[in-house]
């Protein structure tokens, strides 16, 4: 049978499984995810002592109910069914729901709220795109099968692979993806916004307003780049942390959206964020169904409020503004700036995760879970929002994220009243 790889936002759904996973179609990341033995959390623990699932869940619920403003964070490595319960749990305990988007594509979501997303699917990129731009992203290392499945070498209905497709990489360093490209523009750090604005000016016929050099690119390079963009019958711009983690952040992404809007006056273009974890798109989308916002949602007043500068996990921890934390399928101790991790170590932390990671070291309650997409089934959203059903193809002694969160939510509802549409 075919199974899907629950690692990156590609969610490759063509992996053969016949009792064992066939390695033929796996990239190094997928091979590590699906075949490498890793250190698991062996059993539920409270303060380092082995307990039953029931006892760990009870302690976790006590922590959440006793907190004034608990933070419920992570969600990118689990399935939509579990995420939905997480959003409801955040509402019931008057906490804050935040996802790993707040440390990666959060600025892209802000820009999308301002400008809309001229989006499409990876299928459209594969079948139609004759110009493909990678702006500040490196799929050769972060989404290794993206070039062969969707964007560079793949044959589409209307574009017969690499020969007829122009591939452009824009980055501050020559990445492995740049080696695959037909054109590489090395730009200066922090110059994305200026370069995007210059490109729009040239496409709009205002190149007199563009100086001789912008962000390390000469005016003739910028003209050449603009012409290359306009030569597309159908173009796609993929972008990553090179836009969101640098000066400008959401403004860089707004400039990308505006560039795509400008290009659409001449030809057809779409824009696609390169989402990292296999269901980070779902972590935002499910919260949008439930609460109207994707991440950084505060329920402490009984209704959802969205403000990433106030309610994103890093900012909340930075201001010491949460007094307990539930971490699901994520490792903030490894991935947050160090000063906010210090606050994590001072508050009660509950962790739900299959693997022993650095957050396990500070967690007071540790609840091991089955690996979503391998040991537990569910639906996820690929990076372009296309739903993919993940199968369970290995047995596990561990509870799924859904089962753990359902048990927690049942106890919260029992004590606080109200009901849940399961």
């Amino acid at each position: 049978m075919k199974v899907s790889c629950p690692f990156c936002g590609n969610v490759c759904d063509d992996i053969n499984f016949d009792g064992e996973v066939e390695r033929e179609k796996l990239c190094p990341l997928g091979e590590s995810k699906l075949t490498r033995e890793k250190r698991r959390i062996p059993y539920p623990m409270v303060e380092g002592e082995r307990v039953s699932y029931d006892e760990a869940i009870e302690r976790a619920v006590e922590i959440l109910l006793n907190a004034k403003r608990p933070l419920l964070y992570g969600w990118a490595s689990t399935v939509n069914e579990a995420i939905r319960l997480g959003v409801i749990l955040a509402e019931k305990v008057g906490g804050v729901y935040d996802t790993t988007s707040s440390v990666c594509h959060g600025p892209s979501i802000l820009a999308t709220i301002e400008e809309g997303l001229p989006g499409g699917t990876l299928g459209q990129a594969k079948n139609r795109a004759d110009v493909v731009v990678f702006w500040g992203c490196n799929p050769a290392e972060a989404h290794p099968r993206h070039p062969t499945r969707y964007s560079v070498m793949v044959k589409g209905f209307l574009v017969e692979g690499r020969r007829l497709r122009k591939t452009v990489v824009v980055d501050i360093r020559k990445t492995a993806t740049a080696l695959l490209s037909s054109k590489f523009y090395m730009i200066k750090p922090n110059s994305d916004f200026a370069i995007l604005t210059a490109l729009r000016s040239i496409i709009n016929g205002n190149d007199n307003a563009v100086p001789n050099e912008v962000g390390g690119l000469s005016k003739s390079q910028l003209r050449e780049f603009a012409e290359l963009l306009l030569s597309a019958r159908y173009g796609v711009i993929f972008f990553g942390m090179g836009a969101t983690h640098t000066r400008g952040q959401d403004r860089n992404v707004e400039a990308l959206i505006k560039l795509v809007q400008t290009l659409n006056r001449h030809t057809r273009y779409i824009l696609q964020p390169m989402r990292g974890h296999f269901n980070v798109t779902g972590a935002d989308a499910v919260a949008c169904w439930e609460a109207g916002y994707g991440y950084a949602i505060d329920f402490s007043r009984g209704y959802p409020r969205f403000n990433p500068t106030e309610f994103s996990a890093v900012q909340l921890l930075r201001r010491r503004d949460c007094d307990a934390m539930l971490v699901v399928g994520s490792d903030p101790v490894a991935h947050f700036p160090f000063d906010v991790v210090r606050h994590m170590a001072k508050i009660p932390v509950i962790q739900i995760d299959p693997h022993y990671n650095l957050t396990t070291k500070v967690a007071n309650v540790v609840i091991p879970s089955a690996i979503s997409g391998i040991e537990a089934e569910g639906t996820v959203y690929r990076m372009d929002g296309v739903p993919v059903r993940l199968k369970k193809f290995r047995e596990s002694e561990f509870w799924s994220d859904y089962e753990i969160l359902k048990a927690m939510l049942e106890r919260v509802v029992e004590r606080k009243g109200g009901d849940v549409v399961w």
Partner: protein
């Protein structure tokens, strides 16, 4: 010497990200990549140790010659706890600035902290 620090996902960091107590993950994240000319200017060779310091903190890492082309003046550290030891949390959008932070790089004989040690240092 002054540099611009960028963090980035690497293949090795991704391969071992779910196995963070492994030697493989340590090797994949307790390092930085530099341009060979910058390394020569600092008297560094592959596998030497450097102290990377920003206004937010300081960390000792192994240095690697850039396989492709990290430009001169740039230091690349893979995503992870070593990079985050010296990055800021403040931000206007809620998302920290994980790239393009000014830093200083100097050769050192100090040891690179193990994963256990850096967690203890970060947690405080």
């Amino acid at each position: 010497m002054e540099f611009t620090l960028v963090t980035a996902r690497t293949m090795e960091q991704g391969m071992f990200v779910e196995d963070k107590l492994s030697e493989d993950y340590f090797k994949a994240t307790a390092c930085c990549e530099m341009n060979p000319e910058d390394m020569n200017a600092l008297g560094l060779k592959d596998g030497d140790r450097v102290r990377v310091t920003t206004q937010y903190g300081s960390v000792v890492l192994y240095v690697k010659r850039s396989v492709l082309d990290v430009p001169r003046g740039v230091v690349m550290i893979p995503l992870g706890i070593y990079a985050n030891r010296i990055l800021p949390s403040e931000s206007g959008t809620g998302t920290p600035i994980y790239k393009n932070v000014r830093c200083r790089v100097e050769k050192t004989d100090e040891e690179v902290l193990s994963i256990e040690e850096i967690v203890r240092e970060v947690v405080g």
